[in-house]
């Protein structure tokens, strides 16, 4: 529907309407996030004011977040460790599997893809009981591996599914011409396929990282030592200076700190992320 097909007045109407719609969508998506940022900048005594912008901008909530009492800095480090390890391990394993699923012919491929898809739809809570029991028997409660290993149950299928669709997009002739030039299949994969697949792998990495950074159920079940808890769990258990008031200001500040890296990532790589989400069609 190019603009020239319409009579002039009609275009203006449609244009105005769609601009208004776009405006509504942006407000819908960003208003709660904006409110979190604004609330985090209010000093504690003004926290219940509902002005559009804080009367006095204050960073006291951010100082409170990083006071040693809350342990939040350590929580961020824990989240980072878990998310990075999950991303790297899932990608390393999934790259091989998806290459095979996308490029090689073998019996049982369809079934395998279905199994991978099925596992990605799996309710995580259905495996939490045996994992909790096993991990306590092995003294793994409050360890990183107790978070990392269960996280693989959702990140690995996601990675395989996504990467398979990326590998499929590449022309079949790539390996053949590499091998004509004297590469072994392994070399063709390493020197030709992997570099070309790098954007797809990077996209998948972002999506997995965000998923692992979001994880809550496994962490809240397996970890009870505050020094080992990831930021999501710590945030949910924030208490204020006194037991009786919820520290909304510092909760919002912590939320901003946890989200800002992801928002920046989204802004930088939005095109890739959308392509990745559309390719995988998986999870939020």
């Amino acid at each position: 529907m190019s603009a020239s097909d319409h009579p002039r007045r009609k275009i203006d109407w449609a244009g105005a309407l769609s601009t208004f719609g776009i405006f509504l969508i942006v407000i819908y998506c960003l208003a709660p996030f904006y409110w979190m940022v604004v609330s985090s900048l209010r000093p504690d005594i003004e926290i219940f004011e509902n002005t559009w912008w804080p009367r006095h901008v204050s960073f006291e909530n951010y100082q409170a977040v990083f006071s040693t009492k809350n342990n939040f800095g350590q929580g961020l480090i824990n989240s980072l460790i878990v998310s990075v390890v999950v991303t790297v391990v899932a990608l390393a394993i999934a790259t091989f599997a998806s290459y095979a699923l996308a490029r090689l012919d073998f019996r049982g491929k369809g079934v395998l893809l279905l199994v991978v898809l099925a596992t990605s739809m799996f309710p995580l809570v259905a495996i939490i009981v045996p994992l909790l029991k096993n991990f306590s028997a092995w003294n793994w409660i409050n360890t990183y591996q107790a978070m990392i290993i269960p996280d693989l149950s959702f990140s690995l299928p996601l990675a395989v599914w996504n990467l398979t669709s990326f590998f499929r997009q590449m022309p079949q002739e790539l390996e053949q011409s590499a091998m004509v030039d004297g590469c072994t299949p392994g070399q063709a994969f390493r020197k030709v396929i992997l570099p070309i697949a790098a954007p797809g792998i990077f996209t998948t990495a972002i999506i997995i990282f965000i998923g692992a950074w979001n994880e809550f159920l496994v962490a809240v079940t397996m970890i009870n030592n505050p020094a080992m808890q990831p930021a999501t769990v710590l945030l949910s258990k924030f208490t204020g200076a006194s037991q009786f008031n919820t520290p909304f200001g510092s909760q919002m500040a912590a939320g901003v700190v946890m989200t800002l890296p992801l928002v920046i990532m989204v802004l930088l790589f939005q095109r890739r992320i959308v392509a990745g989400l559309a390719a995988g069609g998986l999870k939020q």
Binding site: C29, F33, N50, I128, T259, V274, K283
Partner: protein, 350 residues
Amino acid sequence: MSTNIYVPDVNRRSKASRAQSRLAWLLITPTIIVLTIVIIVPVFQSLQQSLYGKPGLDPETGFVSDVEPFVGLDNYTSIFTDAGSRFWTAAWNTTLFGVVTVVLETILGVAMALIMHRAMRGRGFVRAAILVPWAIPTAVSAILWGWIFNQNGVANAILGQHIMWASGNASAKLAIIIADVWKTAPYIGLLTLAGLQVIPDEVYEAAKIDGANAWKRFTKITLPLVKPALVVAVLFRALDALRMFDLPYILIGPRKNSVETISMLVQDEASNLRYGSAAAYALILFLYVFIFAFAFTRITHADLGATAPRSGGGRRRKLPATVFLPQGRPAAVGATSDNTIARTSERSKS
């Protein structure tokens, strides 16, 4: 003579395909091992666990035992006795959240996709904005909405009310639904938009020439053609909503009747060391999700693209969900409209 040439040829070919198949299995083995360890084995352990009770006094010896007694199907049958009321509440909440949030976010998401599809300017910015709710960790969005729905929060200020959102039954449910729809409607919108963008303009132009009005074009062209993409998005969202945990757990709190889902019930049972009943409830949820997914894919004929349509689909009657995977697009559509989101944005940028 000719057979002498013919036979080695076949051997070579099958050797090559055998080598390929060997390489494939070698590459796939690590994935299979990990998935076996983190999913398949635990499911069977869960199944076994669900037949055992909580260790306690041994009725025969009178000593405290730390061995879990075998109770058979007691954990399952207790659902139909008094112990089950909490389960039924959780099952009802799970279903309610699953259905209501998915219906609402599908309607909103499709509306968003249609608006974004028509909009010529500002696409990149909108796409970034729409990804923000998706990227915010659920734990953070739960805290954020908890603050908005605080008694002195901005929701009450806008409404001019003093609703105690978290303590009411209906209001707590409503808070969860609003927060979940906010977070996930944009995601449906995004995937629907991807589906919209592979519909060639020529189809609409032909329909216009035939005299179809805007509503007709929407119901007869847009919806059927976008359905495969939409069905997959809705399926994944529904499965996600049925296992909802973080949002009610943080926004309203653990062990709150008003919003407890089956996932929360399982986690609570497990963390109180009632492993047997936790496993039983978890397996019921598993079965529920499985039946839902199965029925949903059957009713909507969702093609999840897992069957790898390499050879081109002569037998395909409809546009499959594999429109997400470029090689899966039927040639008729793929040839005319290769405008994936990425390319569109490149064009809009330049």
